[in-house]
Symmetry: C2
Subunit: 198 residues, 2 copies
Amino acid sequence: MPALPRPVGRPRDPALDVAILAAALELLGEGGMETCALDAVARRAGVGKATIYRRWPSKDDLVRDAFGSTAPELLPAEDQGSLVGDAVGVLAALAAALRAPRARAWRRTVPALGPDSPLLPGLPTGPVGDWTGAVDGVVARAEQRGEVGPGTFPPLALRAACAVLVERWLTGQDLDEATETALLTELQSVLLRPHLRG
Amino acid sequence: MPALPRPVGRPRDPALDVAILAAALELLGEGGMETCALDAVARRAGVGKATIYRRWPSKDDLVRDAFGSTAPELLPAEDQGSLVGDAVGVLAALAAALRAPRARAWRRTVPALGPDSPLLPGLPTGPVGDWTGAVDGVVARAEQRGEVGPGTFPPLALRAACAVLVERWLTGQDLDEATETALLTELQSVLLRPHLRG
């Protein structure tokens, strides 16, 4: 293997970074680590291989960064004014994230890794962003606005709603728009509303 | 490749079948399809390769059968006398199934397959047995004994409890005995009890 230039601190063109990381995720989603060869990433992103090596010293580094730098924020940036409003925002963001290339890439790459895989450290443990943190944020906002008393709304109720979406995705059940709307309504009524009475 | 004998209807020694299927699941759990070579299965099960070929014409057939014939029954065979009793039975069976070699094998094999993989048809869509069917069974029993009115207990509440366990497993969070007991208690109180009031 030829000696490679060391990566230099900040990449020079952020748009190239985005294109390379997106190409890596797409290829991982199509066939896992095997399909995500650096040649293929370079072709898909329309760059030379050297452009990739200047940024990431190895494929493992590129893959880790592709997952790490594309994790979506699931909590709506704007407070939606109610626990249910914020919760539906998180659930809709989660459903969208589960349809995105990053989740497809995760599905074909991460579960198949053994506990001793050198790729594993630094990879996300879940297919999408930090939904546990988003759930805690929803409950904290509701407590701050006095909608629920401190500690009275169980985060597990909303975590369970998220888990239903993750489970559907894992078992390959597509979520078209109409099904998603119906499911989000049912999740609200069955899991969230009972804890908002009184 | 030498001509192989065709499989003959019923296998001759069921104990050998069990040993071969268990060896295949173990190896899949250790490293997916690559690790589950027929040589390795034969060694692990303590049989000759011909013994395997007499039963399954190809590795894909063996792998499908390993998943299909070892799916656990999640609904307790004995009616536990209450919806919560039956539900806890399903959740405990699900937690145990997620710790078993079959779930580990599924995790390292199935999510990584592409939609066009020839192995995919005939493989289970989920890591364990039929938990949706088990949930429906719990609710049907409760309705039959008059504990809940027809259609008043939402199966989604119990499906969500199952999904929490599946999500924990997927993201690699171990469930030791004490954590499992605490989680099952919380799932009951947050997800099931609100629908049993009145």
